[in-house]
Symmetry: none
Subunit: 169 residues, 2 copies
DNA sequence: TAAATAATTGACAAAGAAAGTCAAAGTGAT
DNA sequence: ATCACTTTGACTTTCTTTGTCAATTATTTA
């Protein structure tokens, strides 16, 4: 089961973790360590470290080249952040991408793990089994957006309440 | 006559039993063991391991793909209650009935209000606007059951943890 | 200094390895 | 004989792995 992809993904994430949000590698060296072709690294980066997944990847070719992977910091207010995501996403959402978003939200403390599990359940393939495959990702997105919108409203209310309490002092 | 379906069903259930509620298989391998076409496994999963029957099935395609089957253990009071509800409801769920159930769950302290709001959003007509009206209530029920099942699993885990803590004293 | 060479990553395509879908054909109860 | 359930298989979609060649940059050499 240990897919190469997953091993590489984890290695990079560990490195990022150890390095406070940023890591610089050379593709060839990492490939050698994992014993795979270099383009495998490229593949992992393009499927697991995209913008939507909260990463910025920069690189430089040529002798002495490198690949730098940064984790995007989340310094907005949380309700703003959610609204930002909400506006950025398109019309369709694969099961996998839903998972990625939710994991991110949990990591950034926007939703708690229990809520994430519920949201995952609501957008799972099993829940949508009776939806024709053609439209499944569309429906999934609608459900996801609706839940997220509710969440954003909850967050906004909480933030407002907190602000009020501060003002009363 | 031992139907293939039944044999496969039993095999999977045995595996789940041995594995504390969860197994991960590859469809092809299991099919080979039973000497049937892979889609037979799919059939068994979709008829015998549904949400209503207390199972959550996830999968992933592609190289290194898998199918994961989780069952709710069902030996605890609250999760038992939720499962009871889950089995009692039919195959379809109107928007209004969803609302009634959720209000009830909140009243009975099975889910908190925030979660209820999320679950409401997931089953709202707006979320399901693109689902043809004829099947909308069916899909709504599937989503509802999936979320509820996840919730039941969470509750069960919590209860187990609490019991453990009591035992440690 | 200009040109060649070596060292890197990038883009994309092809092949491989799963699982998913769907409809047709088979079986068994009633 | 019908109806629901099972079984099968061809085809599709998704994800992974590998490979090739192009683009870019640094370094060496003439």
């Amino acid at each position: 089961m240990a897919r190469l992809t997953d091993i590489i993904e984890q290695m990079i994430k560990d490195m990022i973790e150890e390095n406070e949000g940023m890591v610089e590698i050379t593709r060839g060296a990492l490939a050698e360590k994992v014993d795979c072709v270099p383009s495998q690294i490229t593949y992992v980066l393009s499927t697991r470290f995209t913008n939507g997944q909260g990463y910025i990847v920069e690189s430089r070719r040529g002798g002495g080249g490198w690949i730098r992977i940064k984790r995007i910091a989340n310094d907005n207010s949380t309700s703003n952040y959610v609204m930002h995501i909400l506006n950025g996403v398109g019309d369709t959402l694969s099961r996998h991408d839903a998972d990625v978003y939710l994991t991110n939200f949990v990591d950034y403390d926007i939703i708690d793990k229990k809520t994430a599990v519920i949201m995952f359940a609501a957008t799972s393939d099993q829940a949508l089994a009776k939806v024709p495959p053609r439209t499944r990702d569309l429906i999934r997105m609608d459900i996801f957006k609706n839940m997220l919108l509710s969440k954003a409203m909850q967050l906004e209310e909480e933030e407002k309440k907190e602000a009020d309490e501060r003002n009363e002092m």
